[in-house]
């Protein structure tokens, strides 16, 4: 069975991507973080390790809120996208 990447999985989903960004991170905190929980708990791989810090994208966010709960450094400011935007599950 071919392993499917998260990016390819997200490409079959319907999103209404908002221009307003609903995730913000405090990069200086991420630089000193000792666990980078966000990259493991995000099912959409929105967070990536880069030069010891974190880069993120919000477009593929599945709005589960895992990052917000798992980050205990207060580095992630995650909110829900504006109503009507974001993931639209066809099946759920």
């Amino acid at each position: 069975m071919k392993v499917i990447s998260v990016e390819d999985k997200l490409s079959v989903n319907k999103f209404d991507i908002d221009k307003d960004v609903h995730i913000r991170i405090a990069e200086d905190i991420c630089q000193t973080c000792n666990h980078h929980a966000c990259i493991y708990v995000c099912p959409a791989s929105c967070y990536k390790l880069s030069d010891g810090g974190i880069t993120f994208s919000y477009e593929g966010c599945l709005e589960c809120g895992s990052c917000n709960i798992a980050c205990d450094k207060g580095a992630i400011d995650w909110t829900l996208p504006r109503p009507g935007f974001g993931i639209c599950y066809q099946y759920g």
């Binding site: 319907k14 999103f15 099946y91």
Partner: protein, 266 residues
Amino acid sequence: MNIIVCVKQVLDPDIPPAKFRVDSASKKVVPPEGIPPVINPYDAQAVELALRLKEKHGGKISVLTVGSNGADKVVKHAISMGADEGVVLSDETFEGSDSFSVAYILSKAIEKIGEYDLVLCGRQAADWDEGLVGSVVAENLGTSLVTLAEDAEAVDDGLKVKRVTLDGYQVFVVPLPAVVTVSNEVGQARLPSGLGIISAARRQIPVWKAEDLGVDPSLVGSTAARRKLFALSVPARERKCEIIEGETPAEAATKLAVRLREAGAI
């Protein structure tokens, strides 16, 4: 100023290509189950222009749509943006109508409403991109017509319309009543307000059938269509990704330029 806006429900343009399917045998698009159609984005912009005109000059905005299942949703969307009222034009005989027949049905409904100064349509629908309906409605109603409007305002002798051209714009003054098709340059359609959504949600949208409109059944439906669709298929898409690397940005850019030239892209 009393404005009638014609809107169409289209397949949500934000569905990913993977969800887009056609049935080649029946030559129809198969809408993805569970993803409701939306208001044609150009039509939402026509509603936006109508709202701006109403804010400036007062009056009433009525919305018309031709369609069956769930078509009231797009009328409700326009109402949630701020339109005053709307009607769904729906009848079994309308099924399979082409743009000419749709324009005929709309014209009948507009005549039934009677009092209007302006009819607005989106420049084209995001599904078939034909851009015919507005023009044919003007022809049917015998009014003046301006296409591709990016702005409009009422003046003493009618409506001043700014029309988009390839590298600039034209300004027309047309007598009212008139039909104007609205281009995307009008700017983003406003999002519905909370109270607008609630007001629309509790509204029952009236339905006018063929007999309410005095529509001649021989002029609508698939049998009246002036064109036949020959074939329908999803084009095969191929995509390739190459990563061009370099020690410095300048080196990477040079390699990229060489590669693009090889590929005949530049």
